[in-house]
Symmetry: C2
Subunit: 488 residues, 2 copies
């Protein structure tokens, strides 16, 4: 690939030009042939990016909590919002919808009780006074509490603060270590749990999640879902099959209402802290669900803080079950969401590939694993890159240093996703696209990179080849419209 | 290189073991065959590293100014100090010796005058009252000032503060941006200038520099030197030839006194801000010096803040002179010391290679340049990695994310150096070796990695093949002694 003139000669400007072009063509989207309109749009985008780069405060170099306002006002961001981005392939079920909706909508419903732990809050909906919860104050009906409160806005803001990591304070001071940030991160899930597992809220939340991503011009979602027990006001509970069925119904209803939305598929997840026996049972259940819900079930994954959990290899017996029984169950493992090197957890990337994972969640450590990297590239095992998540959870400070910048410089199979936008104070997919486009790409990435990222999100999804083709042509129509409307 | 079992099969533990070993063997030093004694030393080192990793505060993840005390007390660091590290190939002439020596020795010599600018200080040695300096207070004889000062320790500390970036305050607050840190960085050079360019101090400083690296078990130096005009008490000045000759004499004297020291070679440097005419003249001068001082002159380089300076390509006419005239002048370009992508400056890495650079100074951006990376690998153009410098000058915060971690995971040609240890509050090479060994390598790097880094520093030096062989066997004897004394 290199055109080398040997030792003692003066660089030839044409050769130099060719090498620069060659390197540029190797990046994600570097092979995309742009139409005239796309080239005009590109000129606009690069001018905007030049302005962005020259500003004193460069958002991708800043913590997202401090950069959000700057990004929101960036003309690039406004374009990215309008851009059809394809699918979001790395998302978690209870962090799709902004927390304001949870507070202003969910907690204002009747029969909503709240109690206070030393660090946070818990919720439950109940037709009668709920049974007390250990380590929590007595349950108070939120309606009564609000009636007694002078400033309900303050109360609501305080509740909201328990549901998100976002803060106006100095994030470095509030979240000094990975241990601290992960502990509070998991607290936010606990706080939302009683709200989002209440059947009526669960359904509306799911629909609202699709709406918010749809608003952000995302046409398809793959959701990591814990599929928890869902409950009703009278204490009745529903199992995973019910939950999956409900998700499927809502997804179909949403698609019926929005024909240019492709749908949702679910990756069922277990925590990477449970014991091996429990994992065996969960994998068995996952196989059954995959058999019974082939349309909506995409596969299986493990979640939770990787450095604080069991390595994949610890669960090798359970993860071998599907192959042993000849039963299909695709894996979509989180792996390499770590800064540790040479530890047992750091082997997760390689083990994910050995277990034939369909994609790698995060893969932050991939560039430090040459064998795994080559494998991922050769077999098209795409890396789900979630820039804001990696920054907020303290893997990297300046997003220009994110390893995905190197991966994208050589068109490694990657998709961009947002992991837990609600908890990070983001929305949909556009903020993460901004970080990738401006931060990873600098002045080098262009409209071809954006196009490629959108196409990748369909290509590396769990859709069938036919579904992918349909989704791609749907995306292409929306893309052409977007280009037409914004190229001038 | 991959042993793959296809799709549907359970991972074979033996295959997994083989892949892990394969990946480990691909890293820097992964091919080193360890003796029994080296293996015992390795066991000790890895145990120490395990302890280090498990501590709450992990030094490579912290700013060096905050981590220095922790590192200094680390048993790994103490071993690394004793370890023969080979050569230091990326150093600057006036940042070799700790600033305490400058203040406690140089400024206490007779005839030392000081004046105060709005931000810093300037010095001059003179037999009579020196001519006033613009933007500086009137010259005061430091001896008289000290006589009038109650607490000379405070005065000395305050002077020292102007000669280094090191601070006990929060470095993020003191140096919020690259612009700020580079501006103060260059101020420290200005402050030291009048001290180190005074002939008697210049000679002693140089000898002292060699002593300090020798004390840190470094056996060879390649120094980027601006070769400034040197002056005497009576105002007499000396040119570059005199300076080079002086360096050569002192180096020879030092080697005579320390037969296990190999020597010093000089890379003459110009600033990347001068105009093209001036650059033509400097390159001509460099060619002449290279011809006249073949023993000590190694080549030529450009220095200064890369993002704030001219790109290499801007000076293409001057840099083409040696080839045009058929006159040898090896280049050792700083390149890719940047977080920008796709800018003109970001092309420096490729241009350095097009100009046939012998090594790449920093090359922080290399992993984002696949063509340049392949070239550097294929032709053994080593990257001079200076971890602490890159952190202090705000390219990367957590050194585990330094791109050299990825480079070393695939045994890319790298050497470790310390750039400006005095200005960063470091000493010799051991602090940077610590960051590379513990930070880049995590639990993966081992005694073979250290060995390889030391060998690389000789292999990629500008020494002749014969000199390299001699240096290597000298190093090997010291290494064997080190292993013998520390393996138990
Ligand atoms: Zn995730
Ligand atoms: Zn340097």
């Amino acid at each position: 690939i290199l055109y080398l003139t040997g030792g003692m000669s003066i660089p030839d400007p044409k050769q130099r030009e060719a090498l620069i072009k060659q390197e540029s063509s190797m990046q994600t989207g570097g092979q995309q042939v742009l139409t005239d309109a796309e080239q005009r749009l590109n000129a606009r985008l690069l001018k905007m990016k030049q302005d962005e780069v020259e500003r004193e405060e460069f958002p991708p170099a800043m913590h997202f909590f401090k950069a959000r306002e700057l990004i929101r006002n960036s003309p690039i961001f406004k374009l990215l919002q309008k851009m059809p981005k394809g699918g979001a392939l790395h998302l978690h079920d209870f962090s799709m919808v902004d927390v304001e909706w949870l507070v202003k909508n969910a907690t204002y419903r009747p029969h909503c009780y709240i109690c206070f732990t030393s660090r946070s809050v818990r919720f439950i909906f109940s037709s009668q006074q709920p049974k007390p919860l250990t380590n929590c104050s007595s349950w108070t009906l939120l309606e009564s509490l609000r009636a007694k409160t002078v400033n309900t806005t303050d109360l609501d803001n305080s509740i909201m603060g328990n549901l998100t990591l976002f803060t106006d304070k100095d994030p470095e001071a509030v979240y000094p270590t990975q241990t601290v940030v992960w502990s509070i991160f998991e607290e936010t899930f606990q706080a939302a749990y009683g709200l989002v597992t209440y059947a009526p809220v669960f359904k509306d939340y799911f629909y609202q999640g699709l709406s918010q991503f749809y608003m952000d011009n995302v046409m398809y979602l793959e959701l990591r879902a814990i599929l928890p027990e869902i409950y009703d006001l009278d204490g009745r509970t529903y199992d995973r099959a019910w939950t999956l069925k409900t998700c499927q119904d809502i997804s179909r209803q949403f698609v019926a209402n929005h024909p240019d939305f492709v749908g949702v598929r679910i990756i069922f997840t277990a925590k990477r802290t449970i014991n091996t026996n429990k994992m065996l049972k969960v994998v068995e259940e996952a196989m059954a669900l995959y058999r019974d819900f082939p349309d909506i079930m995409a596969g299986f994954d493990l979640v939770g803080w990787e450095d604080g959990g069991r390595p994949l290899w610890y669960y090798r017996d359970a993860l071998s079950l599907p192959v042993e029984r000849g039963v299909p169950l695709p894996f979509f493992f989180h792996a390499g969401e770590t800064n540790s090197q040479g530890t047992e957890v750091d082997q997760n990337i390689l083990d994910a590939l050995l277990f034939n994972t369909s994609r790698i969640g995060h893969g932050f450590a991939l560039t430090r694993h040459p064998v795994a990297k080559e494998w991922s590239r050769k077999y098209g095992v795409a890396v789900e890159v979630c820039p804001i998540s990696n920054q907020v959870l303290k893997l990297v400070k300046d997003l220009r240093n994110h390893p995905a910048a190197a991966l994208m410089s050589e068109n490694h199979p990657v998709v961009i996703s947002s992991d837990d936008p609600a908890i990070f104070g983001a929305f949909g997919l556009s903020y993460d696209f901004y970080e990738a486009f401006v931060g990873f790409g600098g002045m080098r990435s262009h409209v071809g990179s954006l196009k490629q990222l959108a196409i990748n999100s369909i290509r590396y999804s769990s859709l069938t080849p036919e579904e992918k083709e349909k989704a791609l042509s749907l995306w292409q129509r929306r893309w052409d419209k977007f280009v037409f409307e914004n190229a001038f």
